[in-house]
Amino acid sequence: MSSFRSKVLSLYRNLIRESKKFNSYSYRTYTLEKVKYEFRENKNVMDAVKLSQLIKKAEDNLQMIRRQVIVGELYGEGHLVIEHHQEKKG
């Protein structure tokens, strides 16, 4: 189990780190929320087969996020008005 544990924790950290890089407010907030939700939902999964499947899915998604962050950097556009709003509030 412990091998899974460190793997899962590192995947979680990487997914959060990469999701924060999305240029688009919508994709960024969605991905962050979704990553946290999925890990919470599956935190009690102990079955090794199921865990390996989830790890594979997370790894694929991590690569997808990395690719799409680059696409967003190349073709993204400005910020939403709400991002300035949040900044003012914060």
């Binding site: 890089k21 960024r28 907030t29 990395r66 799409q68 962050v69 696409v71 008005v81 709400i82 300035h84």
Partner: protein
């Protein structure tokens, strides 16, 4: 400063137009798991920005883009969908109908995988899915195609008054060809009356076309009941499910649906692609509208656009996975919006019965406020007063008139479209702005003042000039 603005060290917040994606390109492009190469020195790549200032002078500042709350008009592409599509724009450009080389084989395999992904979402067989350019084309092929194919025996079509323009216009075109069309009225809650539908079915009725979820008021029609009724009367049942597929569970067999229209860009897929479900057992036949190479089993000639179809397939698969999660979020956000507005403003009417609506479509009428002026004031939020197809006209929506909304309330409606990527902050911001501007506009309205003074507007006899 919030972390949202410091994610990229190389980016200066206000320097729009000069964003350099250096970090990305120098460190990540070669990040293939099984093919890691060292990054080479590359010149800096400038992000592509599109300038349309020569076409439109009144565009808002690109650094202050409005929030998007118009999910019924179209939805943003899910990044997972784009990720699935890009290889087919770049490497796999073969014509899926080319049988003589690998370029054709690889894209044909991708198209067939997508066909299965679409079919799985609605519990159909992949052979029952035809790719089209969108739900408008699917609706045209379904309604006109079935009517024309069976025209020697049957001449009557039933639809409802709140259908999308493309179904209504297809029916109009068929009327000109000698078909008889019944446009069923809807009840005050927006739902059709099943007894009226049953009474309208004649021995020569060929097809009933009723949409699953309405695009303006979000009303869900009782598809299962309509399907069962049509099945018992041996009438084909077509449903325009553009607003429903991927958002609410649909099963073509349990619901006795014979034909269904699906749109790509309403479920976070690409624009310009859609699908039509057409039942094989018992077989439904259509007369093709477009003549050509006989692709899609002769029902829709023209090369199947592989990247778009791959995107539609990916969008359907993701929608199936995410339906529960999306629905949970969208329901909560929808309730949050309605509660916030209702707590702050009196005399707000929700169009369409909320109990029978898809929660992602909230259509509100603000009494004594003109919808168009509210939309103008809400520059920070991308909203619409109804369907995008008819938003160019100042006429009140025919859907709102069909549900019996008063003329003045029909003029004061705003549609809030909540989708997968809408956040609670966006909903709060939109609600706050909306409340602020409705209050301001009402204060300017003499009618509102009269109502505050206790005058019953309906009792006033206005002199005509």
């Amino acid at each position: 400063m919030l972390p949202t603005f410091c994610r990229c060290g190389s980016r200066v917040f206000s320097s729009r137009g000069y964003l350099f994606a250096t970090r990305a390109l120098q460190t990540k492009v070669h990040d293939h798991t099984n093919n890691v190469t060292q990054p080479r020195d590359r010149p800096q790549v400038q992000a592509k920005h599109i300038d349309i200032s020569d076409v439109r002078k009144d565009m808002p500042d690109k650094e202050f883009r409005p929030l998007y709350l118009d999910a019924q008009a179209t939805t943003p592409l899910d990044p997972r969908v784009l990720d699935a599509m890009l290889p087919y724009f770049i490497s796999y450009y073969g014509n899926p109908h080319s049988r003589t080389h690998a370029y054709g084989w690889e894209t044909e395999a991708a198209v067939e995988k997508a066909r299965k992904q679409v079919a799985d979402l609605i519990a159909a067989d992949p052979r029952e899915i035809i790719f089209t350019s969108g739900a408008t084309e699917s609706n045209n092929v379904a309604v006109k195609g079935v009517a024309r194919f069976y025209k020697s025996k049957k001449k009557h079509i039933i639809t409802s008054q709140t259908e999308h323009k493309c179904v209504l216009d297809s029916c109009r075109a068929l009327e000109a060809e000698g078909f008889d069309v019944t446009y069923l009225p809807v009840q005050k809650n927006g739902v059709i009356d099943l007894k009226e539908l049953e009474a309208a079915i004649r021995p020569d009725t060929v097809i009933v076309s009723i949409m699953t979820v309405n695009n303006e008021i979000g009303i869900k029609q009782p598809i299962t009941e309509i399907g069962a009724l049509c099945h018992s009367k041996k009438v084909f049942f077509h449903t325009d499910a553009a607003q429903a597929v991927g958002k609410i569970p649909l099963n073509v067999n349990e619901m006795n649906i014979d034909l269904m229209s699906i749109s790509g860009h309403k479920l976070y897929g690409p624009k310009g692609v859609g699908a039509m479900y057409i039942r094989r057992r018992p077989r439904v036949r259509v007369e093709a509208i477009q003549s050509g190479g006989g692709q899609e089993r002769g029902m829709r000639s023209g090369t199947v656009p592989t990247p778009l179809v791959v995107g539609l397939g990916a969008a359907c698969e993701i929608a199936a996975q995410e339906m529960e999660y999306d629905s949970m979020r969208i329901t909560a956000l929808s309730q949050r919006l309605i509660k916030k507005i209702n707590e702050a403003l009196p005399q707000v009417v929700q169009n369409g019965d909320p109990k029978q609506s898809y929660p992602g479509c909230v259509n509100l009428s603000f009494a004594f406020v003109e919808g168009e002026s509210l939309l103008m004031a809400l520059k920070d939020v991308a909203l619409s007063s109804g369907s995008a197809c008819t938003s160019a006209s100042l006429e009140p929506s025919y859907v709102l008139r069909a549900i019996g909304a008063d003329e003045d309330l029909a003029h004061s409606s705003i549609r809030f479209g909540i989708g997968r990527f809408t956040t609670a902050e966006e909903v709060d911001y939109a609600a706050e702005k909306c409340i602020q501007h409705v209050k301001r506009l009402r204060e300017m309205s003499p009618l509102w003042e009269m109502v505050q003074d206790g005058v019953d507007l309906k009792a006033i006899k206005w002199t005509q000039h």
